[in-house]
Symmetry: C2
Subunit: 332 residues, 2 copies
DNA sequence: TATTGTTATGTTACAGGTAACATTCCATAG
DNA sequence: CTATGGAATGTTACCTGTAACATAACAATA
């Protein structure tokens, strides 16, 4: 009994009694072979359960029609929505996607990019503008189009699509100040690039109004329970706190739940604002004040730009800022 | 000016003045070449920014050390946690992961599997036990180990790791009935296999106590706002409802928020239970009653089993049931 | 009938890393 | 001084699909 081997085009060809070239043609476009041949090949392919093999293609430097997508985290709802936007476009354009995530670490990002490039992706989408030198070198060497998503402040490579996190935060905190809150504290977790930008936006608004900046930060990953914990710590450290600007909705919602447990009235005793505008913020009581980011649209526009460039078009806009919406909700 | 080309081992070899075989050895295990050669090659590799190329490897039927992972949805928090569990194990074992998602469609699953197999993955993890005939054929032909995650009721291939969704739901609904709720309605969305199993568990418990079954279902994807909507529709259709068993936490939480808006007391006027035990359920007020599934552990055990089989071990347990915990919380 | 075109299929060469085997060179033992 | 062994490096063949070119067979036209 011979060991089973993955069937090749040659195996199909042997059954049909033609060369593998004919099978190859059939698989790419059945019209290219005669109609009786189509039937015969179709049967043989089904019989063997032939599985396409990309290896030879990759080897001969053909286009892979695959694009690589790097996100910091899969657990983060934000990126699942961005990915949905990307795929809506890539799917329609006949491109396949290969994801990887790097846990907010530039070193891991480097590894993942190397992995994706080793599979000859045609284009690459990143979620960060900070990379290791080796990453930059690899990308240059690979010579494929690259787009950085999410923030537009300081693109490191060729093109960026996203929002201005600093400016958006500045606007939200300004709105809170305009409503009369004076002792606003910034809640941050997982100190990545965008978290820092949001903190800067917070500080800009506070300073502009002569208010003092206070932050409660941790390197732990965001979660609802972390938001609860940060509220407790904030009130212990700064009892006069009357507002929270949180780096994302999860922290904000966790803080609101904890405030409810403590019997604090929102927003009368403490105002809370988040970042992103997830569905849950609109369902909960009170409705969450938040900076609504166009997550799915970021994905769509990024994918459209990348595909245009894969089709040979030049970059027309190196930076595409899709803007945010300040939603007041009921919590400020 | 010549068009840039991705550097090959030969290019590195030319710079160093040896054959590419020496470079190949260095890259896989630097110890295999002399120490002065190590330095020279290292420099040349950096200079060119050499990127590994998996194509030749794939072509010669080498192990890819990559495993494919198929999940129905990336938006679904459940699967990000399962993936985290998988990666904790694969990362340590030196395996790389390639994800894909198929939007709960068996046809799309087939496409994705074909895609992953075309890249010569060594093993495959699925999240479903229902597949197209062609999928089954492909998997058989590929001859690689496959594990089905999530539910253990009716594995279709070789091995399954997960929980018993029907039994778990039966237990939760029984617990609700034991507390005195009589008019419990089942809330379901996106009618996939597991949702149906949970409904069956609900029905088994209700029938056993001579209570009548009522369901409020939709094919839309789960969300918090959908939970709110389903509650409204449920109360309109069945005014006497005093309990909800929801197919997941999102629906349950959305329903609770809506009940709060309506001024309904939980659990006095209406009890609500969810499924999975996400972090948010423990933070919110009231704490959510839920069936806690060992999501990360499912991932870990699945990966461990797969890697053991890749190492040549035989299947010792075709079905691994990791069990659930019934958490009463404050909402029933 | 000779010519041209068209459709269907065949032939050849190639992509880049690595397993398996071969060679070279030098140190040490006999 | 030769023989032996081992470390370092070289040589060859191979994996599979497809672009590019070649050929065959037959229909349509001059």
């Amino acid at each position: 009994m011979s060991k089973k081997r993955r069937p090749t085009l040659q195996d199909v060809a042997n059954i049909v009694g033609v060369t593998k070239m004919t099978i190859s043609r059939y698989l790419r476009d059945p019209q290219q072979v005669s109609s009786e041949m189509q039937k015969k090949i179709s049967l043989a392919v089904e019989e063997l359960g032939y599985i396409p093999n990309r290896a030879p293609d990759l080897l001969s430097n053909a286009k892979s029609h695959a694009i690589g997508i790097l996100v910091p985290s899969l657990t983060n709802q934000v990126f699942s929505e961005v990915i949905r936007g990307i795929e809506r476009v890539t799917e329609a354009a006949g491109y396949q996607t290969m994801f990887a995530h790097y846990g907010y670490s530039a070193e891991l990002e480097e590894k993942r990019i190397s992995f994706l490039l080793s599979y000859h992706i045609d284009g690459l989408i990143l979620s960060e503008s900070h990379h290791t030198p080796r990453t930059l070198k690899m990308i240059e060497t690979a010579g494929i189009p690259v787009i950085e998503m999410m923030d537009v402040a300081s693109p490191a490579i060729e093109q960026a699509v996203g929002v201005d996190n600093l400016e958006a935060s500045y606007q939200m905190v300004s709105a809170m100040i305009a409503k009369g809150y004076q002792h606003i504290v910034y809640l941050g977790a997982r100190l990545d690039t965008r978290t820092k930008l949001r903190q800067q936006g917070y500080e800009k608004a506070m300073r502009e109004h002569g208010l003092s900046c206070k932050s409660m930060m941790t390197e732990a990953a965001s979660s609802f329970s972390l938001g609860a914990e940060l509220l407790t710590r904030t009130l212990a450290a700064h009892p006069k706190t009357d507002g929270l600007f949180c780096t994302n909705d999860d922290l904000a919602i966790g803080a609101i739940f904890e405030a409810q447990r403590m019997g604090l009235k929102i927003p009368e005793q403490i105002a809370v604002a988040g970042f992103h505008g997830h569905d849950i913020g609109q369902s909960m009581v009170p409705k969450l004040a938040t900076v609504v980011t166009p997550r799915e649209k970021i994905g769509q526009v990024t994918a459209q730009q990348l595909i245009a460039r894969l089709a040979g078009e030049a970059i027309t806009e190196a930076v595409i800022d899709l803007g945010v919406e300040i939603r007041h909700g009921e919590s400020i």
